[in-house]
């Protein structure tokens, strides 16, 4: 398949077996165009950005800002603040927006959230005494929307994961936003898993903030962003201080930039932005919707096969869900299984997937998780299933 050829790492052998990389919800692999874009930056254009006079600095500035422009149009967002990743983006939202705007108001989270969308709000609540409310998960692994609606009063913010990194469940964010806005609460979407799998239109959705990471969508490590609409942007107060985010500094007082730079203190993630822009260019040339259906089919096949091996599978694999299959064997420890799979070249992740409250709700400590992305094939899925069968025969 053509896509695979674009990802050099897929040529690798692991323990004498071809790599079958099924850890995409943790991070995705990078196509050559992304690696080469960063290479080219470092070998041709590297310089510090902003207030640039010389040619290299101009090229670096244009490259860095081009990523912002692409992101804004990709997600149809008013503002795009570059961060180190989803986690930093949510922490930025909590500090820059939450500290000044959430006084005395409750924060609604879901039981399905990633730690990165829980801990920053717990920290905020600890400082300011906000009440934290959680939308519970029903037995069918969907959010209890009635409980949500019943809890909305007095809330200033609803934080919800677009797509669960453990279950692949895609949440009804449209409905969640509608209810929140009707009740005067803003909404932050954790799109770390959603953004790689489908195009999200922030302004159409009407979401107020959205956080994502480049490394989960073929981009480099070390960069992500917080997308915000204009109203929310204007409510945000500076968070980190330093170079590039100021307008003037005197010994006693500083004034700040008025655009996104206001929230990007210090030398920005230049090569990373250039790599991310290349990744978006790459993904933009694919038919993401077609890929989504193809991968979901693979996930359903895998889930069925695993169930037939007596595994418990956590997930629904509904039409909008992502291709993530979390599962457990009744006796073979998940880490042992993952180690044994690794001996056959298959990379899966185990553990709590940074979602302990969700696993607690499911009554377990961890799962084995196989997650699929654009370069994965049905043949790989079959190989994974075959290896798993062999391992169970030998070890379970």
């Amino acid at each position: 398949m053509a896509i695979r050829d674009d990802f050099p790492i897929l040529q690798r052998n692991i323990n004498g077996h071809p790599l079958v990389y099924l850890d995409n919800a943790a991070t995705t692999q990078k196509p050559s165009v992304v690696i080469e874009a960063m290479n080219e930056y470092y070998t041709m254009n590297n310089a510090n950005v902003h207030r640039a006079v010389h040619t290299l600095a101009g090229e670096a500035t244009n490259g860095y800002e081009a990523c912002r422009t692409t992101l804004k149009s990709w997600f149809n967002a008013d503002r795009c603040i570059m961060t180190g990743g989803t986690t930093e983006a949510i922490n930025l939202a909590a500090h820059a927006w939450g500290h000044s705007q959430l006084k005395g108001r409750a924060i609604i989270l879901t039981e399905m959230e990633h730690h990165s969308d829980i801990v920053p709000w717990q920290m905020l609540a600890e400082s300011f005494g906000n009440e934290l409310r959680y939308i519970p998960i029903k037995d069918d692994l969907t959010l209890d929307m009635e409980a949500y609606e019943a809890s909305i009063e007095g809330a200033g913010l609803v934080c919800v994961v677009h797509t669960s990194n453990v279950l692949g469940v895609r949440n009804p964010i449209e409905k969640i936003i509608e209810i929140a806005h009707k009740n005067g609460a803003k909404v932050l979407i954790d799109a770390a898993q959603g953004a790689p799998h489908c195009k999200i239109d922030l302004n159409e959705l009407g979401a107020d903030m959205m956080a994502l990471s480049a490394h989960k969508m073929c981009g480099p490590t070390g960069i992500g962003c917080l997308l915000v609409n204009e109203e929310t942007f204007q409510e945000m107060k500076p968070f980190m201080g330093g170079g590039d985010m100021i307008e003037t500094v005197t010994l006693q007082k500083s004034t700040y930039q008025t655009n996104e730079h206001r929230f990007e203190a210090g030398t920005p993630k230049i090569a990373e932005a250039i790599g991310w822009d290349a990744a978006l260019g790459y993904l933009g040339n694919l038919n993401l919707e077609e890929q989504h259906h193809r991968l979901l089919n693979i996930a359903r096949y895998v889930a069925d096969e695993l169930r037939s091996m007596n595994m418990t599978v956590y997930g629904r694999h509904d039409g909008d869900d992502s291709a993530v299959v979390s599962f457990l064997h009744p006796t073979l420890h998940s880490e042992d299984l993952a180690h044994l799979l690794d001996a056959r070249g298959v990379a899966v992740r185990t553990g709590h997937h940074c979602a302990q409250p969700l696993l607690h709700r499911l009554g377990i400590n961890g799962t084995v998780r196989a997650s699929f992305y654009i370069y994965n094939t049905m043949e790989e899925a079959e190989l994974f299933i075959q290896h798993t069968k062999d391992i169970l025969e030998r070890f379970a």
């Binding site: 902003h50 207030r51 640039a52 006079v53 500035t61 244009n62 800002e65």
Partner: protein, 135 residues
Amino acid sequence: MTYPKALIELIDDFQSIDDKMERLEYVFDLASEVNELPTSLWSEETRIHGCQSEAHVLLEIEDGKVSLKSGADSKLVQGLMGILTIAMDNLDTEEAKKITPDFAVDMGILNSLSPSRSNGFRNMFDKIMNELEEY
């Protein structure tokens, strides 16, 4: 839109210069084209933001025509103002409103300027256009 003749000549001139230093030299020379705004009239109202250098412009309408006075502490910036002066000064207000920054792209000056400078140029242009809209 069609450009004023002086501007067309300027675009031609710029396009014919290959060496960057010579192009900059040409911009330098155009600094004398501005109708000078005396520094005594420089104020918060006339300031162009986003320039690293001090740059000021005053737009007035006289007899339905644009009158542009400007100045900067950087000769390059003032040269850019000179270009804007050639492009817009003395134009009918309605004609002036039709101008887009495309001519600067055609001239190739935006490419031979650093992003901060071409930002500065855009801020200059936008400031003039915004004020023009108010008339």
